[in-house]
């Protein structure tokens, strides 16, 4: 009984240690003022973060090697990099991840149609404005007599991109509007077309480009006024040297009106022209997107299940161990991982761990998914091991086999046979859940679907296609697992 109490007491330091670990992560934003510009010049590259679903500012389109990010903001980034004498590298991620990426030094700079707000200015530094945008409302053409401005949205629901200025604007402007936030503009357009929402508040220029690619919707002036609609470049807090340098470029751009006269028209040239061709043929043109998505999805899944099983075995054995320290570590790991959302884990690995060592998105995704899968596999394996009759291991021990050998030759082979169907399920789940890695910009199926959506302005067809692809993959896998299940149990049970 005494022993039991002491175990519990010693569990606390482990939890404390873990909290400390978290605290360290959150404090890595060292303010090392003005080595920023120097660092980037030594590095030779300036990494720009952007959320490429915002044409004409930033969007994905077919380039020479697969999907590429184009847009007026990218051209501005190009210009800033050029003036610094370095190369520009563009990283894509979801809009609400951008500022986090900046704070954790995943990117050096964010240009993504970003408006300066006092809240944002607390965590990052902004340059002067390079462009003044307005807010427009997108509505269905059929509603044009009903909705003339934001005031007519009373009692209706309107959409806006999560984290965008327009989201706050519409919310503040009309208290009677139900505001629906979505991460992706394409989803908003879909929602509008299918009458889930009555209007979308978005940047005027972006709204124009969606109107030009979608029949049935139109833009009206929102009638909203705000001082916030200046687009600015964001740098990490304290990166004054970078802000100064970029402001020079921006000054040059604004005095010559380059953004409106050159960057936007240039970008529009890259925008896809195949908007109204038939679905089937236009989707076929994007097969390379889907194929590269399948490759990434399979790579993530196979590597993750491999490490997941290894971690699973280790933690299952630790949890079954008589050594209470090993046991406690395993319990903490398993319970913690199973008790937190996988999406959060992926973001934590990418942004949190990434603040210490620079891990690419794909690797981060694989690490996070392996760790996640390890916890579930550990419980499956533990169940498998405990289901093996005690007599089996007693017989092995009585013959002089060590505990390890007993596990390896007698218990685990039998356990694996029993848990094979459960492992198959886990693999299928893992393949489906790998889609979450798209939040940090891993180019798997889900991400590629977004790219195709953005490029073709077709909302539903790409979704249907990846649904079929996912099903074909998972169905094939479960058939293969079934086949091997038959093989293993041959001769033994039943």
């Amino acid at each position: 009984m005494n022993n039991h109490v002491s175990k519990k007491i010693i569990l606390w330091p482990i939890i404390l240690l873990f909290s400390l670990f978290l605290a360290i992560f959150s404090n890595v934003n060292h303010v090392n003022a003005d080595s920023y510009l120097k660092d980037i010049k030594t590095k030779g590259t300036l990494v720009m973060g952007t959320s490429p679903d915002y044409p004409p500012y930033e969007f994905l389109s077919k380039g020479s090697n697969g999907s590429q990010i184009y847009g007026a903001d990218v051209e501005l980034g190009q210009k800033i990099a050029q003036d610094m004498g370095v190369k520009l590298k563009v990283k894509s991620m979801s809009f609400d991840s951008l500022l986090v990426a900046l704070q954790t030094h995943k990117v050096d700079m964010v240009i993504s149609g970003l408006n300066k707000t006092p809240e944002r200015a607390k965590s990052v530094d902004f340059t002067n404005s390079y462009y003044q945008s307005g807010t427009g409302l997108l509505i269905n053409k059929s509603d044009k007599d009903k909705i003339k401005s934001y005031q007519d949205l009373k009692g209706l629901s309107a959409g806006a991109q999560v984290g965008s200025v327009q989201y706050d604007l519409i919310k503040k402007a009309n208290k009677n509007v139900k505001v629906k936030g979505m991460e992706n503009v394409n989803d908003l357009i879909l929602a509008l077309k299918s009458n889930k929402i009555s209007a979308i508040a978005m940047d005027s220029a972006v709204a124009d480009s969606y109107v030009s690619h979608n029949t049935g919707i139109m833009k009206i002036s929102a009638g909203l006024h705000s001082a916030d609609s200046n687009n600015n470049v964001a740098f990490p807090k304290g990166a004054t040297s970078l802000v100064k340098q970029a402001n020079q470029t921006i000054k040059n751009v604004t005095t010559n009106n380059l953004y409106v006269d050159q960057f936007i028209p240039d970008s529009i040239k890259h925008m896809s022209s195949n908007k109204q061709t038939s679905t089937a043929s236009s989707m076929w043109q994007y097969k390379d997107f889907f194929i590269s998505g399948i490759k990434s999805t399979m790579l993530i899944s196979v590597v993750s299940i491999f490490f997941g099983i290894i971690l699973g075995i280790i933690f299952a054995l630790m949890r079954l161990s008589k050594n209470w320290l090993l046991h406690s570590i395993a319990v903490c790991y398993i319970e913690f991982i199973r008790g937190t959302p996988q999406m959060v884990q992926i973001m934590f690995v990418y942004f949190g761990l990434g603040a210490i060592v620079n891990v690419p998105a794909l690797t981060s995704g694989i690490i996070a998914i392996s760790i996640n899968s390890g916890a579930y596999v550990a419980e499956i394996i533990r169940g498998g091991i405990t289901s093996i009759a005690k007599g089996q291991s007693e017989a092995a021990l009585s013959l002089g086999l060590s505990e390890k050998q007993t596990m390896r030759y007698v218990v685990l082979p039998q356990a694996f046979k029993n848990i094979w169907p459960a492992l198959g399920n886990e693999l299928v789940t893992l393949i489906k859940d790998s889609s979450i890695a798209s939040v940090i910009g891993v180019g798997e199926l889900m991400y590629q679907m977004r790219a195709v959506q953005a490029d073709t302005y077709q909302g539903v067809a790409p979704i249907a296609i990846i649904m079929v692809i996912y099903f074909v993959i998972t169905f094939t896998i479960s058939r293969i697992m079934k086949y091997f299940e038959g093989k293993i149990s041959h001769g033994t049970n039943d």
């Binding site: 017989a395 021990l397 013959l399 050998q405 007698v410 049970n493």
Partner: protein, 244 residues
């Protein structure tokens, strides 16, 4: 002559529940001991302590002078290879063929070559008349066949002593004979054995010594004839009167 196994003050208790206390006993090479007693007397627990499958609370178990209780895990593995065990429920490895069941320990523990181990397995299987079963899996065998294989598996390690934990209790009555037959044969070959059993006739005919266990103690250690004809303790008398 020194005893092969010497048990000193062996005690086993779960919290306050004493299973047996301060048991002392000796087994000499070639001896066949039958451990009798009413159900719940702790016979199986005692037997399982001898090869440390159950950990005794205190006391010593000396095999050729070396104590198993205080030995390190590595030493224990070494000592265990000298002590075979046959279980009530056979405990053949379900995932392995009969041949692999028998050769696993000789190959992995003793480092024996595969060919030599298999040769040995075949000759032992012939001895129990089951060489034709070498490639099948345990689930296709009858109880009597399984138990004979389990004995062969223990023998393949050339143990100094074999512990039998109620080897015929899980068998259909008509299968009991074939297993006892094999055990009798081993006794004839001077194998040292400790047998927990309820087969009184068998115990009487095959044993060199009967240990009678009850109330957490070995109450009597007698030659079979003396024990069955002239039990000394009240407990033994009561036990025998119920068995006959």
């Amino acid at each position: 002559m020194e005893p092969m196994i010497k048990i000193e003050n062996l005690t086993k208790q779960f919290k306050d529940n004493v299973i047996f206390k301060d048991v002392n006993a000796e087994v000499y090479k070639g001896n066949v001991i039958s451990l009798l007693g009413p159900s719940g007397a702790g016979k199986s627990t005692f037997l399982r302590c001898i090869n440390m499958l159950g950990e005794p609370t205190s006391g010593k178990i000396l095999l050729d002078g070396k104590d198993l209780v205080s030995s390190s895990p590595k030493e224990l593995i070494k000592l265990r290879t000298n002590i075979g065990m046959v279980f009530q429920n056979f405990n053949l490895f379900d995932n392995k063929t009969i041949l692999d069941n028998i050769t696993l320990a000789p190959i992995k523990v003793k480092g024996m070559g595969k060919v030599a181990a298999e040769e040995k397995a075949h000759s032992l299987l012939k001895m129990v008349g089951l060489d034709n079963k070498s490639d099948v899996y345990p689930n296709s065998l009858s109880g009597g066949q399984s138990q004979r294989i389990a004995i062969v598996r223990a023998l393949a390690m050339d143990p100094e002593v074999i512990l039998f934990d109620e080897p015929t209790s899980a068998l259909d009555p008509e299968k009991v004979g074939e297993v006892l037959e094999v055990m009798k044969e081993l006794a004839k070959q001077d194998m040292t054995m400790i047998i927990v059993t309820h087969e009184m006739e068998f115990a009487k005919s095959v044993s060199d010594e009967i240990w009678f266990m009850d109330d957490g103690k070995i109450q009597e250690k007698q030659a079979p004839k003396d024990f069955f004809e002239n039990p000394q303790t009240y407990n033994a008398k009561r036990f025998l009167s119920k068995m006959i």
